[in-house]
């Protein structure tokens, strides 16, 4: 809250300095001969405002962003013996609770007594003090820096001062800073995934993770219990992901391609104007909605259909198959895959549509003039010409199918099985990430860290697919005209 008020105040202060600077420049322009001012008065104002506002704002923002981290670091620097005796997770909870107490938030349900209780109160008092120190310190620093900025910039205003160039210099820095954010995002993703995965791979060997066939991340409470270490072989997850991706692509690729062909080659302008936005709605539906639909509508319909078929087969020559089919459950790979495929239809169709539209009309005209039918033209001329683009579109769809979470979470089940049977429940990489990281608070057990190992695998696989898709487009794109 304080940060917001401080930023608002800074904004107003900066606005006021703009007016001052501008007025001074105008006054100078009026006294000197006309046109003697190098820059427009507005630039002089902006120059002063930037000096007065920006550095101070950066200080306040930095305090808001890194203040909590600083606070925790100081709190942890010297802890009483009773606290040091706690497990690492216990310490995390302890310090979180101390901070929660300090700003009146809800603490965890852990009960502290004796030494710990007094330590908690001491730490809470310290946290409160530190928090205020950081906030007010940043505020004071902001005021000083803001005034200093004003003191530096204001006297510089003179007719010969190149305020415009200076302001544009600031703007250039701002531009580059914004572009750097995109890089930093990638660095952040890679660094956080690699760092946490590295901690995971210290307890589980990478080869066991990549080629192990047993996935059971449940860690027992005591070390002497059965399966005390959990099993982290990710092959069943890869198999499940692959199976669902395969089903999704079997739905999305033909339907998406055929609709793109129809839309770009056959449809009248009116049909196109109606159908295309409708397909785009399909693309805009949130995935959680598809998940809900898959779980509550498509799942039961499929189960009914298979159960009915199974009942018909029971007693006949395919008795065992019938028995199996009659016991199929709602949650199966087929449901998640089919619904995901439908989600991908507009993605495939709009990308392929764009690509086929880019094939020049002269190629089609040539083919039609030779007496080929439209479908022959499409199959023998348009599709080959558009093939690299279509391949890239399909690869992008594959990478989306691999990374899709909600539909599978809601419709495919949680059991880790290595199977290619679409009627079985399977689990995928994304589903396991969700189940591993929801509700669990500790971040040092291999169980939670394994989610980052999975995330890294997912990132690497989709990254490779994307790069291949980009390369295909760049390398094989045919330049007509």
């Amino acid at each position: 809250m304080l940060t917001w008020i401080a930023l608002l105040a800074l904004f107003l202060f900066s606005g006021a300095t703009y007016a001052f600077g501008r007025r001074k420049a105008q006054a100078l322009a009026a006294t000197g001969k006309a046109g003697a001012l190098h820059s427009l008065p507005g630039y002089h104002g902006s120059y002063v405002a930037l000096w007065a506002g920006l550095p101070a704002a950066l200080i306040v923002l930095a305090a808001a962003m890194f203040g909590a981290r600083l606070e925790v670091a100081v709190l942890r620097a010297e802890s009483p013996a009773a606290v040091s005796a706690l497990t690492p997770q216990g310490q995390d909870v302890f310090f979180d609770d101390a901070r929660a107490m300090a700003h009146g938030a809800q603490a965890s349900e852990t009960v502290y007594d004796g030494d710990l209780k007094s330590a908690l109160e001491a730490k809470a008092a310290q946290a409160k003090f530190l928090e205020q120190l950081i906030q007010y310190g940043a505020l004071a620093a902001g005021v000083v820096v803001g005034l200093a900025g004003l003191a530096i910039a204001y006297p510089r205003i003179s007719p010969s001062f190149r305020a415009r160039n200076r302001v544009e210099g600031w703007i250039a820095v701002l531009f580059i800073a914004c572009a750097v954010v995109a890089i930093l995002t990638t660095v952040g993703i890679v660094a956080s995934l690699v760092w946490e995965s590295w901690r995971f791979f210290q307890s589980v060997a990478p080869l066991d993770f990549l080629f192990g066939t047993d996935w059971d991340p449940q860690i027992a409470m005591r070390s002497d219990q059965y399966a005390s270490k959990g099993a982290f072989g990710a092959v069943p997850l890869f198999a499940g992901t692959f199976l669902i991706m395969l089903i999704a692509m079997m739905v999305a690729a033909p339907i998406g391609l055929y609709s793109a062909i129809y839309l770009s080659e056959y449809a009248k302008p009116l049909t196109r104007a109606v159908v295309k936005p409708l397909l785009e709605i399909l693309a805009g539906v949130p995935t959680v909605v598809y998940g809900f639909f898959a779980a509550l509508t498509v799942g039961p319909i499929f189960r009914e259909a298979f159960n009915g078929l199974g009942r018909l087969l029971i007693g006949g020559p395919l008795d065992s198959l019938g028995l199996y089919l009659s016991q199929v459950q709602n949650q199966m790979a087929l449901v998640a895959g089919a619904v995901m495929g439908i989600m991908l239809i507009p993605f495939v169709s709009s990308l392929s549509d764009d690509i086929m539209n880019a094939v020049p009309q002269s190629l089609r005209d040539g083919s039609l003039a030779m007496g080929a039918t439209r479908s022959e033209t499409v199959k023998l001329v348009v599709l080959p010409a558009a093939l690299p683009g279509i391949m890239a579109a399909l690869l992008l769809a594959v990478s989306r199918a691999i990374g899709e979470t909600m539909i599978v979470t809601m419709a495919a089940g949680l059991q880790a099985k290595t199977t290619l049977n679409p009627l079985d429940t399977v689990t995928t990489v994304t589903v396991q990430i969700v189940t591993l990281l929801t509700g669990d608070q500790e971040f040092d057990s291999p169980k939670t860290l394994s989610a980052f190992g999975l995330g890294l695998t997912l990132f690497v696989v989709t990254f490779i697919l994307n790069v291949i898709a980009l390369r295909i487009v760049q390398k094989y794109r045919e330049q007509y005209d």
Binding site: A172, L282, P286, T373
Partner: protein
């Protein structure tokens, strides 16, 4: 001339030609049909999806309310300890009395009555008496919803024909419900509560307001961060940056970021914002930060293509009369590209609004009963609310899930419509 007049080999040739032509035309028709079928299938699915969810969800907006005059018995409500009184029991007893039923010594009937009327009555009564203790000993008239199971009965989804053991309400309760309806105490109306209340453990009292406010706050954070940063970054890359290896790398990088699975952004948010920077979990702030990073590449890509569409002659004209490059960009190029930029921004924000998976990673799955208190307080958002309700075991939550989806879809449609209108309104040919 007839075929018979032709030499036989020519006739055979012609016959072959014709059959082949027929085949080719049939093939052509088939091909065309496949295309039509594909589109019909996709649109049919869309209709099925929207129709089915509409059918499942619309009944949430119908509400059954009971109006009842309650005598606040001084013997049961102690003025010194108002919170200690059992208002639910008080209300249930008087409802029973009105139906002409007498409670047995175990309180079985009142327990059953409490299963069909919402404990919202109790809350209302508590609130009223706390505000005005002089109500004790007087009669007050209250209106409140029936419990979700009872509403399902009125809506015909819980059927009398189901064997008693398999349904939530027994015959006696159903008889009461019938009696209450016959006496005119039950009114059917629009369920405004669904839009003005927040999440609750009781389906009949659960609403979407908290989630809508949470979504709006989170989207605000996303927009404030992603749009300016994305637009400036794109402008820099398109208008200022020299074409070097580095800028090529940045470009490839941005294209890749746009295709990174959303759950990976959730992992990033968890590791960097929560574990490293200690931003409060499940707050609109951290959700907005994660979604902003996710929306950023899309905003950049859209802005770049909008900037590319502005013809160079505009830039040259501005530069020619002595404007600096910055002035050219801010006074001429960006304003002309603005419609395209806005369209891209709105579409990527609409996408961010519907995103669920990364928010589950940063703890947004917790139960939040009220409207979020601030940007750092706990909050829930619409898509996550849908996910939480979908997992709820009570059947009444399923219709609420569908209704929440309808609200979410309404949001999406409004945003997409805004983008389309913007594109139409400012469409320009150079």
């Amino acid at each position: 001339m007839t075929d018979a007049a032709l030499p036989t080999d020519k006739a055979a040739f012609r016959l072959g030609l014709e059959t082949r032509l027929k085949k080719r035309y049939a093939q052509e028709r088939r091909f065309r049909l496949y295309g039509q079928l594909a589109i019909v299938f996709a649109l049919g699915f869309l209709a099925l999806l929207v129709g089915r969810i509409g059918l499942q969800g619309y009944s949430t907006f119908i509400d059954y309310e009971v109006t009842q005059t309650i005598y606040v018995d001084p013997a049961k409500v102690d003025a010194a300890d108002i919170g200690g009184a059992n208002f639910d029991l008080l209300v249930a007893d008087q409802m029973l009395a009105k139906l002409g039923e007498k409670d047995d010594e175990f309180g079985e009937a009142s327990g059953k009555m409490m299963d069909i009327i919402s404990n919202d009555f109790g809350f209302q009564l508590l609130k009223m008496i706390k505000a005005d203790p002089s109500l004790i000993g007087k009669r007050v008239t209250l209106t409140g919803p029936v419990k979700a199971d009872a509403a399902l009965y009125y809506k015909g989804e819980l059927k009398r024909s189901t064997p008693q053991d398999e349904r939530k309400l027994d015959d006696r309760q159903l008889a009461w419900l019938d009696k209450m309806q016959a006496s005119g105490a039950v009114t059917k109306g629009f369920n405004l509560g669904f839009l003005t209340k927040s999440d609750s453990t009781e389906p009949e009292q659960a609403g979407v307001l908290g989630a809508v406010v949470g979504s709006a706050m989170m989207l605000l954070v996303t927009a404030v961060l992603a749009v300016p940063i994305g637009v400036l970054a794109a402008t820099y890359l398109e208008e200022f940056a020299p074409k070097t290896r580095w800028t090529d790398l940045i470009e490839v990088n941005i294209n890749n970021l746009a295709a990174v699975p959303s759950i990976v952004y959730g992992l990033l948010g968890l590791a960097v914002f929560i574990n490293w920077l200690h931003v409060p979990r499940s707050s609109p702030l951290v959700g907005g930060l994660v979604l902003a990073l996710m929306a950023l590449p899309t905003v950049i890509i859209a802005t770049r293509s909008a900037l590319k569409a502005v013809p160079p002659s505009i830039r040259e004209a501005a530069l020619g009369v002595g404007a600096s490059r910055t002035q050219t960009v801010f006074h001429h190029v960006l304003p002309l590209a603005m419609p395209g930029v806005m369209t891209g921004a709105i579409l990527s924000l609409a996408h961010a609004l519907g995103e669920t998976a990364p928010l589950l990673m940063i703890g947004m799955i917790s139960f939040v009963p009220g409207v979020p208190e601030g940007f750092t307080g706990a909050a829930t958002v619409l898509p996550v609310q849908v996910f939480i309700w979908e997992n709820a075991s009570e059947r009444a939550f399923h219709e609420r899930t569908a209704a929440a989806i309808l609200v979410l879809l309404a949001f999406m449609i409004v945003m997409n419509l805004a983008a389309i209108l913007l594109r139409r309104r400012f469409e320009r040919r150079w």
